[in-house]
Symmetry: none
Subunit: 222 residues, 4 copies
DNA sequence: ACAAGCGGGACTACCCGTTGTT
DNA sequence: AACAACGGGTAGTCCCGCTTGT
């Protein structure tokens, strides 16, 4: 206390707290997708965002708080993305089975346009370090995955009600298949450096659904 | 750490270097699958293995060296696992398409017996922190994934040569589907806490293959 | 800190600057007595006072400034307390020696009513971290202690002039004894959790003074 | 992980862990007595000890662990100090009351030789920041204070059994008076910069005891 | 082969103080 | 007068890996 510290040369600061927060989240997301959560330092995040640690800990109570905010934002964007494609599919087709095929196709087309492997999925990042994060984070991711299951399950039920499912088709778990393939394909795509791998895998999902609901459909749809 | 230092003449517990190395790898694998690589400390690994850092750095030149050894061992075990199930399938069936279905079924049955979600896959752990690890690690994982592609690709070619594939079936990427679903299903299974999810997803893969090679096959096989 | 930012139009709660300053000092005093000066953060003070740092640095130029203000206010209150009890004693008795005994007795009675150990004394807090604080703080505390010495020394001189002191009685330092016992008893009282310890020790001081000035007095006074 | 950190230039290190630990404790004690616990940084301690933080956290699990070790060592030395003076007094005198006077006198003589104010007492440092430290620390200090009470209480009982106490003498709390005055006098001594203040206050304690047990004794003893 | 003391650096979290705004 | 965003630095903690010793 007896030594008086030199007064810091506080420069003028951006006066848009929401934008600052978003910049921090953007920087964090890029780094976490590339290096994982534990592998990403707060210093790295603030450097990428062009800010300081003071700003970081003003906006997030801790690094875990950032993780929760990151997952929350990602889950919201993801749910909106899902809803958007689903709404689009429901405009393009009337039959539930057809809507499903269009829905998957929209994702496949989106992935087909990538020229580099996608950055990855935060849900997978979470899963890879689940033992490190708290129960709140788990809840956020779990709720997001269940959102896919619910939405697709409802559509599958509609389709099955209209078309029936052939005997012996395992209905159970079918609503999880798209997300499963998405997550797995992201991993293969990144490791192998093949940006089109995701689209190719999604097309198999679509083809499978086509075969299930109406074998002749499959040929026409591809 | 030692506020009450233990007796300085503590003798090493084991004098079997290979066993010590394996214990370290086992402890490391458990922790890395749960927390990721960056989230796992050398201190934590040696504590879990009941050893000290001296032992760790005697067996591995660095934490990177451990990562390479871990991935190498995992890839070897995985390749052996694949080869074992494939050999089993080739004994149980003669037709290549049937062999494929049996092969996938063996994995599904294996996964169906789990009473807790699988610990995860080191390939996914790698992918989640790829930006942190070196090129050697990437090579090991890439080679492992290509091993699946090659092995399944060959079998798919045999099956297609025998049965043909219907027009419009996207042959491309079909050899990656099993691994894709495996990786994705591990993620969903862990996040949702549903141990049987993996088996359910693999059964869809099997069903898809059955539909592709011979629609009537599908009904009998399920 | 604000993951869900509150409405930006939050109005200041109070517009009474003196009251705000007192609230800050009150909060600071409580915390400093419990945790020391270095152990008390500005953030903690403003949180306890229900204010923000902006308010703090409006009223105090720095944390050092707060320390000076805190000690100054405490010393003033303490001097007033001393003067009040001395005036009271001088009304209750006419003989200087009797006045001294009453004076100490008033403090003892005050301390006897505590049901929990006293919060402590800022002079002791200062002494415990003297190496951290600046010369101004030292001057404030020193002046406060010398105030006790001067006031009691004068009264002791009056009493000695009237009654004499027996041979061999060490007059030196006698004026410091009350404050010494006060400070020491606060410490023991807090550590041992015995609220009545302070009063018991002060009664010994009073008894000692009684024995010094007139041994027969002692029996009557207790 | 991809950037390999430069190998640290580890210099040869002292291979006497106990001596290292003592050096850390010595440095810490000096600093804590001067600046308090919260005001003393680990960096400051290791700098004063000529070591690094790696060494610090090898020997102490945390800064709180250091505090416990510091208080424990201090309490042990203090108890030994007490026992030594008591044994000395018991050799020099046979009457319990006389032993008490000698005992206090030995401490007073010790304090009289100081040419600068004593560094202070860790018990007082603890009390000044009690709200910051854990229950273990409180137990250590409490036990130390109770040791004084027990030891002096026993001797006072012996003396009272031999000599009796005059009517109206408050026996309660008498065993705490010496420690009380010690603690309080340290504080005054430091703030006022008067090294002999402690001895002067202790002599009053001795005189008080002499008056209590035998008024004529007091004149002879001084 | 393994244990342990220790160096030096990086991490998260928090500090105090300043600025612009209301 | 009081608030919130933010800068820059330091706090305690833990990290990896080197070295010496057994």
């Amino acid at each position: 206390m007896s030594e008086s510290p030199v007064s810091p040369t506080a420069r003028p600061i951006s006066r848009d707290p929401d934008a600052t927060r978003e910049r921090l989240l953007d920087a964090a997301q890029t780094l976490v997708l590339a290096q994982g959560f534990a592998g990403t330092s707060v210093d790295g995040i603030v450097a990428a965002a062009g800010l300081t640690k003071g700003a970081f800990f003003h906006h997030f109570e801790s690094k875990h708080g950032l993780a929760r905010a990151l997952l929350t934002r990602y889950a919201e964007q993801d749910a909106a993305h899902l809803a958007q494609h689903m709404a689009h599919a429901e405009r393009l087709a009337t039959d539930p089975a057809q809507q499903l095929l269009v829905f998957v196709g929209l994702f496949a087309d989106e992935m087909a346009e990538l020229s580099a492997p996608a950055a990855g999925c935060l849900y997978a990042s979470y899963a890879a370090e689940a033992g490190l994060l708290d129960a709140d984070a788990q809840r956020i991711v779990r709720k997001a995955l269940l959102g896919w299951r619910t939405r697709l399950g409802a559509k599958l039920d509609q389709a099955a009600a209209r078309h029936g499912l052939p005997d012996g088709v395992p209905r159970a778990g079918l609503e999880d298949l798209l997300l499963t393939v998405f997550e797995g394909a992201f991993i293969l795509s990144r490791v192998l450096g093949e940006p089109h791998l995701v689209a190719a895998q999604l097309r198999h999902v679509r083809h499978y659904l086509a075969l299930l609901f109406d074998p002749p459909l499959a040929r026409a749809a591809s």
